[in-house]
Symmetry: C2
Subunit: 584 residues, 2 copies
Amino acid sequence: MHHAIGFIQDFAVIMAIAGVVTVLFHRMRQPVVLGYIAAGVIIEPTPPFNLIHDEATIQTLGEIGVIFLMFSLGLEFSLRKLFRVGATAFVAALSEIVLMIWIGYEIGRWFDWNAMDSLFLGAMLAISSTTIIVKALSELGMKGEHFAQIVFGILIVEDILAIAMLVLLSGIAQTGSVSAGVAVVTLGKLLLFMTVSLIVGILSVPRTLNYVARANSDEMLLVTVLGFCFGFCLLVVKLDYSVALGAFLIGSIMAEARHLARIEHLIAPLRDMFSAIFFVTIGLLLNPKVLVEYAWPIAVITVAVVVGKIVSCGLGTFLAGKDGRTSMSVGMSVSQIGEFSFIIASLGLSLKVTSSFLYPIAVAVSALTTLFTPYLIRAADPITVRLGRAMPAPLANTFGLYSQWLASLTPVSGGPTLFSMTKRIVLQIAMNLALIAAIFLGASYAAPFASTHLARWLETDNTQRVVLWSAALIVALPFLVAVYRKLESLALLLAEVSVQPAKAGRFTRAIRSAISGLIPIVAMFGVFLFVAALSGSILPPFGLMVGVLLCAALLLTVLWRWCVKIHATMQIALRETFEDPREH
Amino acid sequence: MHHAIGFIQDFAVIMAIAGVVTVLFHRMRQPVVLGYIAAGVIIEPTPPFNLIHDEATIQTLGEIGVIFLMFSLGLEFSLRKLFRVGATAFVAALSEIVLMIWIGYEIGRWFDWNAMDSLFLGAMLAISSTTIIVKALSELGMKGEHFAQIVFGILIVEDILAIAMLVLLSGIAQTGSVSAGVAVVTLGKLLLFMTVSLIVGILSVPRTLNYVARANSDEMLLVTVLGFCFGFCLLVVKLDYSVALGAFLIGSIMAEARHLARIEHLIAPLRDMFSAIFFVTIGLLLNPKVLVEYAWPIAVITVAVVVGKIVSCGLGTFLAGKDGRTSMSVGMSVSQIGEFSFIIASLGLSLKVTSSFLYPIAVAVSALTTLFTPYLIRAADPITVRLGRAMPAPLANTFGLYSQWLASLTPVSGGPTLFSMTKRIVLQIAMNLALIAAIFLGASYAAPFASTHLARWLETDNTQRVVLWSAALIVALPFLVAVYRKLESLALLLAEVSVQPAKAGRFTRAIRSAISGLIPIVAMFGVFLFVAALSGSILPPFGLMVGVLLCAALLLTVLWRWCVKIHATMQIALRETFEDPREH
């Protein structure tokens, strides 16, 4: 019992001080988050009392706090919403990130910091703080508003881009440069991973949760939810992605479970406790001396973050076709930096390429911008009104014309247009290709482990490859069949549109059938090359592969209907999960 | 972010395996607790995979689990219920502990273990597992039944006696014997501590919680509750009591808050998560090899625990006046050992007086008896019926007569009897004396710290003593006045009863007023001696003390009414807290 006392003391000190400060901040109508950070600052600089004994454990619990924060954010986010605000969010997030990296880099150079410090400063300013925005919006009761949905979309796009940025930054820090090829592959792998986990997850996780929830035991449901959450986070970490991404993804998968409301209720206290520890640990890291020393850079960077983010993100949202008021609210919501900046700062420190002052500056700027966030969000509407009045007429007209032009571009909603039908089919093909890619990549990844077991029965390397590759092929068959069938429909559609009787005359039918017959075959050859490229390490030699393919073709004549059925079942299951009504 | 991955992995492994095993155990209709222990066993003996990296942190979290378990037990327990079942619980718990220590010791000697191993085995078998009983009863939906209330009462009395036992065992282990005086002082201090913390806690904690709850923020309420809980646990640990007692006490204090239902809802997920970790850590400690080696002792001890506890606790309950059916249910509920046995076992190990095999035996017996608990509880009623039929008539008659005799002893409830009035006044005097004792003990405890500060202004040791003792006296004044006033009422009551006009004749009035005037003064002199004994280290020399007392008497003539008022306010506040309706 006794070795835990140091830890219990830490926990007691954090909770007691956090409790008092939080109540005080609430009375002063300040965000609770700031109260936690202030509690951390109070706890930290008191060496005579030595309030914290086991800082490593507290830091670990703080990181669990990040997991719970991102997980509940995922629970509150539905994929449908992301698709709805996807384009806007992407434009806004990209313009924000590019502009903020540039501003941060320039500020760094202006202060005569070296190139690497400046680059990391830019990266630190690029990403807004999901946790602080979610907290601020929910404290203001604005989580349900339209602009908030766009903000959440931006935050997710930011998280995805941030992970790519982390990988690229590590590359630059270690080698001094990064090739475009590596960047593309990194992003491609990330997208593939997300797609596959979403599909597999939505097929399996909500069903399991619905089954467990039927037992009516909150404890069992909680343990299962935590098992899924941390199990998936572990997988994500092993694949070298951030644990925050994993927690968010699994949260958005669980958001499709029928008992979402119950899960949210069970997770809320865990999130509140661990996130309190997380914010206190930020305060613990804040050294007042460094703040005084770097007061001037902190002030400049704070102003740059607030102004830069409002302009870049607001403008991005506006350019993507939202009205001025929404754009201003979006810009004002994201005008801060947070946990991701700390991650970037500690990456620089652990790679030993940045100076030690970057971390406290990040925390200080984050604290200051966090302090402003709720006021800025509340000020968005009044400022928009004033700006509208103060704006010179020609500029206002230009903005108006732009909005009108964008509105004229959006297709009139109604029956399924050709475009939407094509989009749907292409999306389905992409999803199936992602699953196929995942299967063959998984087989290649598992090959070294499998070969040690296979070596007992199969002597040559080639036979092992044949077995592995054939196994992957069989698992992938339903999806390959689906891709082929979708390609057929796509080809029919294209043939119908591209070959007009007016031009082709009596050859119309022949050309159309040629096109609709050829396209799937050519495309399937492309798919084969794609698969072969992905599974290079387990690809059998040519002769054997032809044999395997012939066997597969034979198998298909028998299994075709079964493959179609399997795929249809999965598709229906996916749709059902999305359409399953939630209990409240 | 990266040093936490080992811990996240541990957490993920524990939660994922616990989730699966729990669902399996639920399907097999076994208690979930066993599922957790089984998950621990599955995780442990796999050195090639090395599933757990940071076992110390996991153990720490497990101990946090004990805190949350005891805390929620406290939340569910109300002090009024303890008072109602107090006598029964005390008789049953005492007979259980004495008998089980004896049985354990005898079994140990029978296996040729040394005296210390045998004594610790006895202590290990003495205390039942609060957590497992609470879990089993709530899974069976029997938490609200009458026998369950008695069981909870027994568990609390056991916890109090267990803490005394821990202190006594440490003494015996280190010196080979323990004096009766030390035992009495230990128990007295414990009782004083509990009384004072309950009074002070109930006066302050529920009010604060009601205030915080008004803000309608679950997060703030949770952080405040956790601050109180862990803060109090820390205080308790610093006073060398067990953290489990602290968590239980603060829980039962918070049970008087108006928003109890909300607090219970917020704490439940934390309790479930951490207690899952706690039970998994028990499984982690279970080494299958030792179990096989000690299969025979384990079997014997298991049978001894089940039979011994049913007989001792059931008989104790029956002797305290409950019917046979209730007694059987009580006995069957407590027929297992649990977390406290692990604490005793690790105490023996850390003091290096016991052999290493005791710990795995404790875990194995605990696992087996846990397994039986739900079946035994369900079997209690049928067994009682069978026993009733099978019992020889003379024996049954004796039992019947005993019940009737006991029933004839219990006072007929109705208006306030002389006995109940006396009891009430004595209780109030005892409570005030406890507070007075705490104030003077606190002042003595604080004296070394205070004297360093006081030394600046007050040169001699004597003047420091005068200041400290006077300060304690002034703080204690309202309670001293209250004691005096209650003594007056008590004396009046005694005078009325003891001096009958039939005997004393015309002196009745004079004798009565002499008695009622003398008793309080004599008793207050006793109180003074009591206080002087407690505050020996800060007692001023005789001359100065007389001066202080004279000053206090002068002060009293001015402040008498104010003291009465202060005390009345506190008394009303205490009663209001108890009578405050709860929100649901």
